[in-house]
Chain length 600, copies 2
């Protein structure tokens, strides 16, 4: 199906919007009237620009408060419509959106609405224009898609059809099944928007919180299924009013938008990108740092061994159990300081994983960094993190470890008390305007499942966090975002390491000279009030700075190292199927981290 | 009445919160448990710190999910409560907040709730502690203040009373009149929060959007009246969960909070600060600039005459009709560039206006800048703009013009076609986190009325704007805020000048070499579609870049100069009682301004 996007969904001038839409692979656009009014380009110039960019103008919108009004008012409305139809001729747009009236002048009279829409369609026909009539969820008398359709049916004019808008239909909780009763050729247009499920005023919800399909909570695949079965042949067009997208760069937003439509089409079977290849583990986490020593000291105290070195690059492999950390002192570090730059995802089929990522518009990174390197499939996540699709020491596939030479040391026996078994999760900070997209990206490109978003109170603002995981929890990535754009890129990232015995791990780390983040005594007094612990247990937590959380069945014990650059490590012990990340304790940890360094 | 604030209402560490509350003049605080848990200070140290700061700990909060539960669960809850009562002893807090249960374990059994609260109160009494039971608006079974009171009444224990929370009461639309039926001595505590009127999930509304009294839409004065009439003797305590306040500096937020309580007490007659002295006009607007020439050229082309110069400072007075603009090339300009730094408000009683401002905690500025200057009362607005309370050439009062010497030129005759009569309005950009407070400040300190807040779509984000005015519209200030914190302080400000004939004024400006902001042709095509104009009228607008808006009775015509530094001028013609500011046209103007300079 053709893809389209309303210019109102993107930030910037009309020219910027059109350019971004074309570059992201859209076939067409809806021209939002205010974008045209504010543009210095004449309609003919806009027409030429869109044609040069390979875009079709699928819709001109919106025309408001037209129908079911007293005769004088309708005469004025027809006069206005004639002006707009002339404009559309100059623009080369052949379909106009008419929204159901919200005017206090509008009468609750379907027959009058139908008669006047018929007259409007007569006029439109003279200009070769089609009128698509849509029910706004807050229309004065017409606010459901089936009501709008009944009026269109009654008006019975070849130049008059209906426009369906997923937001207006689903926000009111209407059953979209009736769409299948509308003849496909009378559905002139389909506008798609998702939205987070919120109990709030529909108009405010619509104007500020719409998002791209898959970023919210609506069943857009179900709705699209009905529309396709009705026989709709027009474009899938995104119309998203979103305060954050208004501020974000148009280029990346348009790519996210196009990706959302590809995923939606896959869900309804109308497109078949390569199937997702869900990663089965974390092969490695790669830290870049201008100075290896401080991070190496922490890794060493955590019990990691430097087992290998890259053949041609200043990259060391540190290992313990199945946990592998690459320490890269190459040029990237000079730009970023110490940070988590890349993740190796253990993939059943790295090449297929990369093909899917590419089909879903993830930026593909070069397969070989140097001629002698093992080829590696990699893409960039929305936050810039490099995601490598890897095989680790599997005979049938080239292993990324092939680029490394043994450094003579063997990884330690992971049965030692307090040893690290593997990476439990990685916590990444997302750009402020990319939080919802980050979850959609990881779900759609990597086939991970997104958990609920949680709020976390930092002393200086509210953070949000949302985890994406595979089914067995062997891949867990916590996507966090700060309170405001000003937080961008300065907040810490961390690597959480799984151990079966966090008390032993913490003791071992301390004995090896590592410094754990101390937690306030008040926190432990509260734990004592809330839970009963075995003798000595709470005392050990208090001594070591171990935090505790409990769910229905499971328990979570965790502690933190001091931060180096933007990065710190967490030691975690999960028991009894605990699925979370200790969000309950995050405010305490954040407060302590603030006291350890200047506020961001 | 004593004033108090919950630590959760302020940003930062517990120490920062306590310090800010004390400096702003609060008598006490509520200690929010999470703030204590995250603090490195022991309870005894917090007790000492609050005492040193002159603060009383009015409340420890919250204790959750205590009552109406099965016996085993209640035993665990009592154990938890004992720990907390011991903590409160160390802290020196004698009242604890118990919120009505939200637990799935809670039973719908008022008798059980009363019995268990009685037992809790027995335990509390041993520690000299009082229990204040509050209905959360989303409590599982108890969610109205009268229901909570019935349970307290049935429990009948001297150490058990109720806590009233304005948000929980008013968010559910309950009638607060019944508060008067509660004996005053059984109202153990009163928490106050306002909120914007929004149709949304109450829990989300409460957690993210609460604000200080007068910043939202609740009738807090009405509620407080009932509480006072019931005989309540405790403190007025603010408990505000607000995403923006969490990020803002604690010091100014605490001052805003304290101001809101003073205004609230005034509204209920329980405090009597000096009465507001509503300004009767704009005496002058003061621009600072490092280079007078570009602004002087615009003023000159607008028809202003440089009529006087300050005796001792590099400040020129430009005048036309009753519009006066000061152009200050003194040291401040080096910091700020060209910007609108001060407003002279014509005041019936400048000294009384300043006394009120001071009583409401507006930062008072020195009365004399130099020994020979006329004394001038001035305060700083939340955005840093200096507000001068002035008299202009009134015999009974010293006039600010006394500091100026005639420059030999007389102001022009304002009956010339297209001349400027006065300043119509001033548009100021507010810091992002101060938008709601800015309106409250201008309302309470200056006695102006706030109009509705409107959203304005800029190509790169959504702006909000809210005007404050006096009754006859001779003082109008439009307070604007950008889409995000990153916009702070970089957006333009402007001075709008009233003329009876904007076409003539625009022509005169252009003839004098001024450059008007050109508006896109598409805008005028749209005007032609929407309205019918007299012959030549629209052509004149198109030629000159004049924008047009129409309301029920009134019309508004306006055009803009190019921007110098952060400042531009607007020429406006209001007819027929038009009350707005052309918000409808602002997106077009903003888009054009973006094309004229690099994006912010």
């Amino acid at each position: 199906m053709r893809t389209s996007i309303a210019t109102v969904s993107l930030s910037g001038s009309l020219t910027e919007k059109l350019t971004a839409a074309a570059r992201a692979g859209f076939d067409g656009v809806e021209i939002f009237e205010n974008d045209l009014l504010a543009s210095p380009l004449a309609p003919e110039e806009i027409r030429a620009r869109t044609a040069d960019l390979g875009l079709r103008i699928e819709l001109y919108q919106p025309m408001r408060d037209i129908e079911a009004v007293p005769r004088d008012e309708f005469a004025r409305n027809l006069r206005r419509a004639r002006h707009k139809f002339e404009l559309m001729g100059r623009l080369g747009a052949d379909t106009v959106l008419v929204c159901s009236s919200t005017s206090p002048l509008a009468l609750d009279d379907d027959a009058l609405a139908a008669r006047q829409l018929h007259q409007l369609a007569d006029l439109a026909e003279e200009f070769g224009i089609r009128v698509a009539y849509e029910a706004l969820a807050w229309g004065r008398h017409v606010n459901t898609y089936d009501h709008a359709w009944r009026i269109v049916e009654a008006a019975d004019h070849p130049a008059l059809g209906t426009c369906l808008d997923s937001f207006h239909i689903l926000a009111r909780g209407g059953d979209p099944k009736g769409i299948e009763d509308i003849p496909g050729e009378k559905i002139f247009f389909l506008q798609l928007a998702d939205a987070p499920l919120m109990a709030m005023d529909v108009l405010q919800w619509s104007r500020h919180y719409r998002c791209f399909p898959g970023q919210g909570g609506f069943d857009l695949a179900g709705l699209l299924g009905h529309v396709v079965r009705a026989g709709y042949q027009g474009p899938l067009s995104l119309e998203v009013f979103n305060d954050v997208f208004r501020q974000a760069e148009a280029g990346p937003t348009a790519v996210d938008a196009q990706r959302s439509l590809r995923v939606l089409q896959e869900a309804t079977g109308s497109a078949t990108p390569p199937a997702p290849v869900v990663p089965t583990g974390i092969a490695f986490a790669e830290l870049v740092t201008p100075d290896a020593e401080p991070v190496a000291a922490v890794l060493d105290a955590l019990g990691f061994i430097r087992t290998a070195r890259h053949r041609s690059k200043p990259v060391d492999l540190w290992q313990q159990g199945e946990a592998r950390v690459l320490l890269n002192t190459g040029p990237a570090a000079r730009r970023e300081g110490t940070s988590l730059a890349a993740i190796g995802l253990e993939s059943p089929d790295p090449a297929a994983a990369a093909r899917r990522a590419e089909a879903l518009l993830a930026p593909v990174l070069p397969r070989r960094r140097a001629p002698e390197d093992v080829p590696l499939d990699a893409v960039a996540a929305p936050d810039g993190t490099e995601l490598f699709f890897c095989a680790t020491d599997r005979p049938e596939l080239p292993s990324w470890t092939g680029d490394f030479e043994q450094a003579g040391q063997r990884p330690v026996d992971s049965s030692v008390d307090g040893s690290v078994e593997r990476i439990d999760h990685l916590a990444l900070t997302q750009p402020w305007h990319q939080f919802d997209e980050a979850a959609l990206f990881h779900r759609s490109v990597l086939g991970l499942a997104a958990q609920e978003s949680v709020d976390v109170a930092d002393p200086y603002g509210l953070h949000r966090s949302r985890a994406v995981t595979n089914a067995d929890g062997s891949v867990r990535i916590a996507l966090g975002v700060g309170a405001a754009p000003t937080d961008d890129g300065t907040r810490p990232q961390h690597i959480a390491l799984a151990t079966p015995d966090v008390v032993a791990a913490a003791r071992r780390f301390r004995a090896a000279g590592g410094r754990l983040l101390p937690m306030p005594a008040n926190y432990y007094d509260d734990l004592a009030a809330r839970y009963e612990f075995a003798d000595g247990e709470l005392a050990a937590y208090r001594e070591l700075g171990i935090l505790y959380d409990r769910e229905a069945d499971g328990e979570f014990r965790h502690c933190y190292t001091e931060t180096v650059g933007r990065v710190f490590f967490e030691l975690v012990q999960r028991d009894g199927g605990y699925r979370g990340y200790g969000a309950q304790n995050a405010p305490v940890r954040l407060a302590v981290q603030h006291t350890r360094r200047p506020p961001y």
